[in-house]
Amino acid sequence: MNTSLIQNASKLLQVQLAPESGIAPDTASSLCLLSDAAQMLEDSTLPPLRSARILALYYAVRLAMQCHQACKAPDSQLARRLLDGDYLYSVYLDLALKWEEFDLIAALAPFIKKIQIKRAEGAPQDELLLQGLSRFIRTACKMLNDSARQQTLAAEAI
């Protein structure tokens, strides 16, 4: 797999994180968390910059989930993990709005919500996030192809 998409996504997210947070995702974690999603995006017809942005947003949510997953016992790192998770989720929303990925927010919202419900019930289904992303990518590619087809037809008509 081409890792440049993951590197680009990682950089895009990193520069948006406030220095106060001190969050610095490492390369190993990005490869581990993003490889499936990166493959899906590479196989799609979405433009490179948009793919990198979508992957960066997905990364923020995965990292938030990872932080909250570790919030189990009242140890010295609990507050930090909880706060990092909350912050990363809010960064996901802020960035998605900034990059006008409104459909992504709408598409992932029910999946992210269900992940929280399942975790609260003690029966996690974290794979739902990748399923949500996969569905979104399919829809986004279809919209892109439809739009390209319409433009071609319009050009031919002229």
Partner: protein
């Protein structure tokens, strides 16, 4: 008279709308621990300041899609309640409004995800009902809590930091409290079609009001009883929070020496002594005066909104927050 009564807003309707957010979620079984924890938290009361502000803000706009406004108001409280669940874990507070906090009832891991569910549910709802893209962006960005998190980071970073500046204190308080209150007034106004200038002025009003509210909250830590506060008096100082009265007290060289000795392992008796010294130093009165100055500035902003019937609601809010009304 209670604030909601003075504003002629029935709290029962707000509470019903808030409860409906979880009750009408088809993915949540009614008998689940998650549903029980959320409805229990809502039923435990609270001032509902944020939804009240959304509704007051909406009275400055020409359109009145009541359903939309009430849903937004409920969403604002839902986000606030989510942050309270996480705050109690962050602060290791076993009680909320005199009852066991959510994490005390469910354990930490479920409580973390109940809070996160609440945030995610609001995003899902806003995405569902906002057909208009511009509105959608506005409502969602107002509900996004990144500033709140940054405020928390600043609080963690500056625990027991007696070199905190007034500007840093104000920035942290804005991020933690007043910006969301200001955003509530603004989203109400915008949802009702108020123009940018009016909603901007309401935002500024809410910012000053919220900051004043935070300072009064800081003061309560010195003046309130354990029963009133739901936690031992002086908890802020014990946990390293440098609030406005402490900042003022640090200007006194002798008192500063005693305050700077307070750390995570300082005995309760020593902290009690420092609290008593701050109480008798005149610093509480200075902080109170600072809070009143902010309310006065807010009042001047309210004065500039003559011609709106809802101007009186701003004075009601000022009264509630301790300022004389016009």
């Amino acid at each position: 008279m209670k604030l909601n009564e003075a504003l002629q807003i029935p709290l029962t309707s707000i509470d019903r709308e808030i409860t409906n957010i979880v009750k009408h979620d088809p993915d949540v079984p009614r008998s689940s621990e998650l549903a029980g924890a959320i409805t229990g938290l809502i039923a435990s009361g609270g001032k509902r300041l944020r939804p009240l502000m959304v509704i007051v803000g909406s009275r400055f706009g020409p359109a009145s899609d009541k359903r939309k406004i009430w849903r937004l108001a409920a969403a604002a409280e839902f986000i606030h309640a989510a942050s309270l669940i996480h705050d109690d874990i962050l602060d290791d507070s076993p009680l909320r409004r005199g009852r066991p906090a959510t994490h005390t009832q469910t354990g930490i891991y479920p409580a973390v995800h109940i809070g996160s569910y609440m945030s995610a549910r609001v995003v899902e709802l806003i995405a569902e009902y906002s057909a208009d893209r511009k509105r959608y962006v506005f409502d969602l960005s107002s509900m996004a809590t990144s500033r709140l998190c940054i405020g928390e980071y600043q609080q963690l970073k500056h625990a027991f930091d007696y070199d905190l500046t007034l500007d840093q204190y104000l920035e942290k308080s804005r991020n933690k409290t007043s910006l969301l209150m200001a955003a509530c007034l603004r989203i109400g106004a915008q949802a009702a079609g108020a123009d940018e200038d009016i909603s901007g002025r309401l935002y500024e009003f809410g910012d000053k009001l919220g900051l004043s509210f935070q300072i009064r909250d800081d003061l309560l830590d010195f003046t309130g009883t354990e029963e009133q506060l739901g936690k031992p008096a002086g908890s802020d100082l014990r946990s390293g929070q440098v609030t406005l009265p402490v900042l003022f007290a640090l200007e006194d060289a002798k008192l500063a020496q005693r305050i700077r000795r307070v750390g995570p392992s300082t005995s309760s008796e020593e902290v009690d002594g420092v609290l008593a010294a701050i109480r008798s130093s005149g610093c509480l009165e200075r902080a109170e005066a600072y809070s009143l100055r902010l309310l006065e500035e807010a009042r001047r902003l309210a004065d500039g909104l003559e011609g709106f019937e809802a101007q009186r609601d701003l004075y009601t809010l000022l009264d509630y927050f301790g300022c004389r009304s016009k």
